[in-house]
């Protein structure tokens, strides 16, 4: 196990090194950020001075070398725009995004899995058909539309929920205060619709497949109660693909909350990264992508470990 973990860590380090190089190179090629940092009435002399102060008048190799030296000291450089250490800027925004993604994922699992099971047991029943119809709309309706309709109904027309912002924050999250929870409801719902529908459909397919297996028939024939057959024998065996997808989807949620964050003016990393790309703020873009790739790597690792618990045949 230890060897496995070390091996994985080594691979992750290589992945992140490659990512840093690619991103650094793309941002280097993208253009001169000083043209955006200085107002139009600055002179060419100001442009040259600022380029020098930011160290972007050097060759690509020199700049990347300086970057690596700083990384060795745990420093990803200062943001060109915010003037603060890039890691600080990203970490300050990360809790807002993680909070949204984690809650949306929990919500999707709590509702998606049971609904999927219900829809799989009697696929022809009217409620199964209703569930499947709703899940189809969850997959096909664009997030932007869902979000705006929620805002229109619950904020503008009814005035029940705040349309935007994060509300009161306590211990890095808004989930502990009533004001914070009110701000969370709509963004979390918006973000979960697609995930919920996806998890629901996967659960259903997986369950229906497993329910056809011989061992399920055997268990039923032996007189094992229906509840035990469904929730123990069948569910456990349909979990592997579900866990894989949930892992991938969680990474997606963290990395692509941008639309939801935009609609609800949620101060997460999605908005930050778009702004930073538009401003050619290289240190932020590099720091963000390194952190996100680290999260992806970590999720993959956790998913692999979870497999061994669900299915003893799997060895890491």
């Amino acid at each position: 196990m230890l060897k496995y973990i070390l091996n994985r860590l080594f691979h992750s380090a290589i992945v992140m090194f490659v990512i840093s190089f690619i991103v650094f190179f793309i941002m280097f090629k993208a253009g001169d950020p000083v043209q955006l940092l200085l107002p139009p009435d600055a002179t060419q002399q100001d442009v040259i001075e600022m380029r020098h102060a930011l160290g972007i008048d050097q060759s690509f190799i020199k700049q990347y070398e300086a970057f690596l030296r700083n990384v060795a000291k745990g420093n990803l450089g200062n943001s060109f725009v915010y003037g603060q250490p890039a890691l600080d800027v990203v970490f300050e925004r990360l809790p807002a995004t993680l909070e949204l993604s984690v809650l949306a994922m929990i919500f999707s699992i709590i509702f998606g899995v049971p609904l999927g099971i219900i829809a799989s047991i009697r696929p022809k029943a009217w409620y199964s058909k209703a569930i499947m119809f709703l899940s189809l709309s969850g997959i096909s309706v664009p997030v932007f539309w869902t979000g705006m309709v929620l805002v229109l109904v619950f904020s503008v027309l009814l005035g029940w929920l705040p349309s935007s912002g994060r509300g009161e924050v306590y211990l890095f999250t808004s989930a502990f205060t009533w004001d914070g929870i009110k701000h969370l409801i709509m963004p979390v719902l918006t973000l979960s619709f697609f995930q919920l529908a996806l998890i629901l459909r996967l659960t259903r397919t997986g369950m229906m497949e497993v329910m056809m297996q011989d061992y399920i028939k055997l268990a039923t024939a032996k007189g094992v109660p229906r509840r035990v057959v469904v929730y123990y024998h069948a569910l456990k065996n349909s979990l592997i693909p579900l866990i894989t997808v949930i892992g991938i989807q969680f990474g997606q949620l963290v990395a692509f909350t941008i639309v939801t964050e935009t609609i609800f003016a949620w101060p997460g990393t999605g908005k930050l990264i778009i702004d930073s790309i538009q401003n050619l703020d290289r240190p932020i873009v590099v720091a963000y992508l390194l952190i996100i790739s680290f999260i992806f790597v970590a999720i993959n690792f956790i998913v692999d470990v979870l497999y061994t618990f669900v299915d003893p045949r799997v060895r890491v």
Partner: protein
């Protein structure tokens, strides 16, 4: 019923007496830093103007008024003596005096990453005469001196000296009407009233700026009453907000001109295709044909939904140097075609029009409209609309033949655009950095340089107008399109004052 009325009356009384008054402002973009000398950008400047004072300040119509400077004299062309306001305190209790002024100017001059260098570059020396008198010596006679000072926010020397740039970027301490409370990046910035403000206690106890960059979100926030003011009201939502009887809308002409510029320096331009292989824009008749051939009224009506003012010159009428005699020509495609034929292009030519797609209001759509207008006079225009991150670095390298761009005369003085866009590119003298079509006319250069150092307001404006007559009417160095307007919405519970400089200055809001 009676009991209810009493209860309501009692509640109303409590409402006016006890509860802290809060002003919530929804902004299309937020601050990037709390250091008032780092990033010179409208949203950041707007927010920080509530914390920091300047020596002189613009009123809502960009007229200069005393702020921390009580009075000033200009005994010699290059010398300014400024008397400072006495008894002013920073938010941490330190007194404001001449040392702070000297320190502030030197910090901008010496800090390589400051975006405000252009505001102080003409100042050679700042000297303290006594605690409340400061002497400025400029490199040349400098008529725009006071207007430039409106961008220099006063820092406290005792607080800031020796601190890192990162620290200053998070700890704003000024002398203004509001004190810093917290900044949750991308979400909100909270200020509270400074009861000791020299001009009196502000009307609102708390001032909250919220970042609502999505247009629909901003509209939803004002409709649902979550904020009291929003800026940059999306034009599609104006009627919806107008029909709400709790809200007011405001339209304020802004300072930004949207214009087209073209390659006026290369014999062969990289993105133009003509029958003779030459650069057609070198011929003034072609440039004038573009001016006649663009249906600006249609752009304003259909793309800007009426929220823009047609432009005929470099700056709007509130700006010093505006020339009332320069009028926009009437849209005349027949005349445009004739001019093209005279220039030797009866069948037109084809060209790529570069434009940003996330910088100005409807920038990419305006470029498309220009293209379809010019198609009617035979010029095939291919629009290349890209994000500002690629557009500006490209135009700075003149990697373009024809481009749509904007300029805001943020000093309220015509010299900024004349220096930056009209004067020939001259990196040594610091002129023409934005003149990326490289228009060049020696007479215009001379007039601009003379007017830049002319302390007589009347003859100075005469020189500026003379330069503009040549650069616009005679040479058609740019094609002006329109001036942007700022649209705001506010709750009827407050009295909002829109400003020409696009800032939200809460002290004037009642």
């Amino acid at each position: 019923m009676k009991r209810l009325t009493v209860a309501v009356a009692a509640l109303a009384l409590v409402g006016t007496m006890g509860v802290a008054k809060t002003l919530k402002v929804g902004l299309a973009s937020g601050a990037y830093t709390m250091d008032p000398q780092a990033f010179n950008e409208t949203a950041t400047n707007s927010i920080l103007s509530n914390i920091f004072d300047t020596l002189v300040r613009f009123d809502e119509n960009i007229k200069v008024h005393p702020d921390l400077a009580e009075s000033w004299t200009n005994p010699e062309p290059k010398v300014w003596i400024i008397k400072l306001r006495k008894g002013v305190k920073f938010h941490n209790g330190n007194a404001f005096n001449a040392d702070d002024v000297v320190f502030t100017f030197n910090r901008i001059k010496n800090w390589k990453k400051s975006g405000f260098k252009g505001k102080v570059s003409m100042i050679d020396k700042v000297e303290k005469i006594d605690d409340y008198t400061v002497k400025f010596i400029t490199k040349k006679a400098f008529p725009v001196f006071l207007r430039k000072l409106t961008y220099v926010n006063m820092l406290d020397k005792e607080t800031v000296e020796g601190k890192s740039d990162e620290w200053i970027g998070l700890h704003p301490i000024g002398t203004g009407p509001y004190k810093f409370v917290l900044w949750r990046k991308g979400d909100q910035i909270k200020f509270k009233a400074n009861p000791d403000y020299w001009a009196g206690k502000p009307k609102f106890d708390d001032l909250i700026f919220r970042v609502l960059s999505n247009n629909a979100t901003r509209t939803a926030a004002i409709l649902s009453g979550e904020v009291d003011i929003i800026n940059r009201v999306p034009v599609v939502d104006v009627n919806r907000i107008k029909s709400n009887d709790k809200l007011n809308t405001f339209v304020k002409p802004g300072l930004r001109l949207i214009y087209l510029q073209m390659d006026q320096f290369r014999e062969k331009s990289p993105y133009v295709k003509t029958s003779d292989g030459k650069n057609p824009f070198l011929d003034v008749r072609v440039r004038r044909a573009l001016y006649y051939g663009i249906n600006e009224d249609a752009i304003i009506k259909f793309i800007m939904k009426g929220f823009a003012a047609p432009a005929a010159q470099f700056h709007p009428d509130v700006v010093v140097g505006y020339d009332p005699t320069i009028k926009r020509v009437k849209y005349d495609p027949a005349k445009a075609k004739k001019l093209l034929a005279q220039a030797g292009y009866p069948n037109g030519f084809s060209v790529v029009l570069d434009a940003p797609n996330n910088r100005y209001i409807n920038d990419a759509q305006i470029a498309q409209a220009v293209a379809s207008s010019l198609a009617k006079i035979g010029i095939k225009v291919k629009v290349n609309a890209t994000p500002k991150s690629s557009f500006f670095p490209r135009t700075a390298k003149q990697d373009t033949s024809f481009f749509l761009i904007g300029w805001a005369s943020s000093d309220g003085d015509g010299s900024s655009m004349l220096d930056g866009v009209v004067h020939s590119k001259d990196d040594v003298k610091g002129y023409g950095r934005y003149n990326n079509g490289k228009y060049s006319n020696a007479d215009v250069d001379r007039l601009i340089e003379e007017s830049d150092a002319n302390m007589n307001p009347a003859s100075r404006v005469k020189e500026m107008r003379e330069a503009q007559q040549i650069a616009i009417v005679k040479d058609q160095s740019i094609i002006p399109l329109h001036y942007q307007v700022d649209i705001y919405a506010s709750s009827k519970k407050i009295k909002f004052v829109p400003r020409t400089d696009s800032r939200i200055w809460a002290f004037d809001i009642k």
